[in-house]
Symmetry: C2
Subunit: 328 residues, 2 copies
DNA sequence: GTGAAAGCGCTAACAG
DNA sequence: CTGTTAGCGCTTTCAC
């Protein structure tokens, strides 16, 4: 691997000059030409490790998400990438797998690799960002808030829960149940709160176990839906707290011949790969990609030196009564 | 940020001893205790950048994929992660977005960040691995082969294409069309070859434009399906070359009231988030997760010094006539 | 505008 | 077993 010293020697200049050429500092035209030529002939690539060590930061942004298999998060990742790339940053995706431990490990890596910044969708509410913050690293939270005083971009979760529930009621369903994620996850409990808002805290549903906290996964949706169908009286509609829960619930319903609209379904979050009939399922679309771009923009501002107080931005969602399979 | 020098001073030992403690080299028990205590009180974290610079390699593996939004690849990523984690490596995911340029950029980063190795699903067949290989980096290809002489793990694509086509014929469909990805992508052309194998190169379908090369995306499936339905005579069944193509095709069919099995559909690749009726769609399941674990294992072997000739492993796929939504 | 030189934080000889 | 020391490749004052 060629170094600046070899390039310098070949070009007949000092290593400092080579460095300057690759960092945009002014260098006389002829020397620059010589350097570039030498660099090319030696296949020189700047060593980022050395550069980071010297500069104390790299040009890469860490994006830590709880579930790499959930399209919601990968769509968000796309958003982050799009804006980061344009600003000259690369983003590396880390899957915490909803594990606090793995998450801590990746946070540690981001720190000790001198990464430029991190965007994290916290796996739990116990995430500890203090080591990074003490080191003056920039971190922005997405999807879920943290205890730390940092920039944050979230969805209007409670509102989404309300909209989904109301849509089902408006469609004439009588007993609207709710399946959501782990109670310890903010998005899950907030969406459930939205459901309660509409039904009323003392309604029959809320009393009768029509609210199920499950895992944010397809299998969680399946199990919860089965539980709901075993109830007496059973619900005639359900609000699914996220996309995967929605898929699981619909799968079970379809298997039992209760394909929507025979049984009402509203899901919070898009169903990007579904093949369902249009208009059968209500979707409260969450702008995952937009969340990603917003978070990336906020991080970039910080990296550029912006030091205004921490901001929280809440993204509006969009009620879609029509085709659940529509492109997002 | 604390350094080993500060820890050394506080613990009353030399920096080398601190380094040894954090690298598993033998150190007397009392000194080790002193070092750990000092490290903890200073919140010391080893600086990976410095370590990589010195050691000339890091403990992270780069995984470069062409589409982060495709569950096929994220499932593969899960597989890679699972085995890498256990071996003490972290994996960072890079999305090349099917762009040769972005891919090159990430390859460059992997190289200049001294990463331990890379696993790449090539965006195009023109991928140039020589810079990495010249540097003696270990790279394994997944999903698609390269011109370089490296380890590679692939699916039995042609066989999958054959199986899908045959299943449709066995089910009684008469005119089986095929939608596949860009002809320049190996998996796409191979799966189409499988389709041709079954129908016969001089069959009516093959002559009549019943094979469409599209993009490996939902919208590509939609467009191709619309084209096929406009044909006269129109096909009565279709083989979709990958999961997203399958989703797009089924969406269009459903919109036109041709929900399978009214129109036959066989897809190469799983449909993890679909909500379709069981048994309506034939799926040739591709073991994406397994591909990931296999690739990671091969890479790890190389990192441990294995230098046997490059191997290519081809994974068997599995024909699933039943529930397309089944868990993989 | 350019070069010399001093590290960034760590590991790995090399002595002891 | 332990300390001293010389860099890994780069950027960046500081003089010229």
């Amino acid at each position: 691997m060629a170094t600046i010293y070899e390039v310098a020697k070949l070009a007949g200049v000092s290593p400092a000059t080579v460095s300057r050429v690759f960092n945009g500092t002014k260098v006389s035209e002829d020397r620059e030409r010589a350097v570039r030529k030498a660099a090319k002939s030696l296949q020189y690539t700047p060593n980022r490790t050395a550069r980071s060590l010297r500069r104390q930061h790299s040009e890469v942004i860490a994006l830590i998400i709880p579930d790499i298999e959930n399209p919601y998060f990968t769509q968000m990742a796309r958003g982050v990438e799009d804006v980061a790339q344009k600003a000259g940053y690369s983003v590396v995706l880390c899957n915490s797998d909803s594990s606090q431990e793995k998450e801590a490990r990746y946070l540690d890596i981001a720190m000790s690799e001198n990464m430029a910044g991190v965007i994290v969708a916290p796996a739990t509410d116990k995430i500890d960002l203090s080591p990074l913050l003490n080191r003056n690293m920039h971190v922005v939270a997405v999807d879920r808030s943290t205890l730390s005083d940092i920039d944050c971009v979230m969805m209007a979760n409670r509102h989404a829960g309300r909209a989904a529930t109301q849509a089902l009621l408006d469609a004439g369903y009588q007993r609207v149940a709710c399946i959501t994620g782990p109670a310890s996850i903010e998005t899950a409990s907030e969406r459930a709160e939205g459901w309660k808002d509409v039904l009323g805290a003392d309604s029959a549903q809320v009393r009768d176990g029509h609210l199920i906290y499950s895992s944010y996964r397809v299998v969680g949706g399946r199990e919860a839906m089965q539980q709901l169908l075993a109830l007496d009286p059973a619900p005639d509609a359900v609000v699914a707290g996220n996309n995967l829960l929605g898929v699981g619930a619909i799968q079970v319903l379809t298997e039992r011949g209760l394909t929507p609209p025979a049984f009402g379904v509203a899901v919070v979050g898009s169903l990007p790969f579904t093949t369902l009939t249009p208009a059968a399922v209500t979707v409260v679309r969450l702008p995952a990609g937009h969340m990603g771009t917003t978070a990336a923009q906020m991080l970039l501002e910080r990296l550029r030196g912006d030091s205004q107080p921490a901001r929280t931005v809440v993204l509006r969602n969009e009620l879609v009564l029509a085709d659940a399979a529509a492109v997002d």
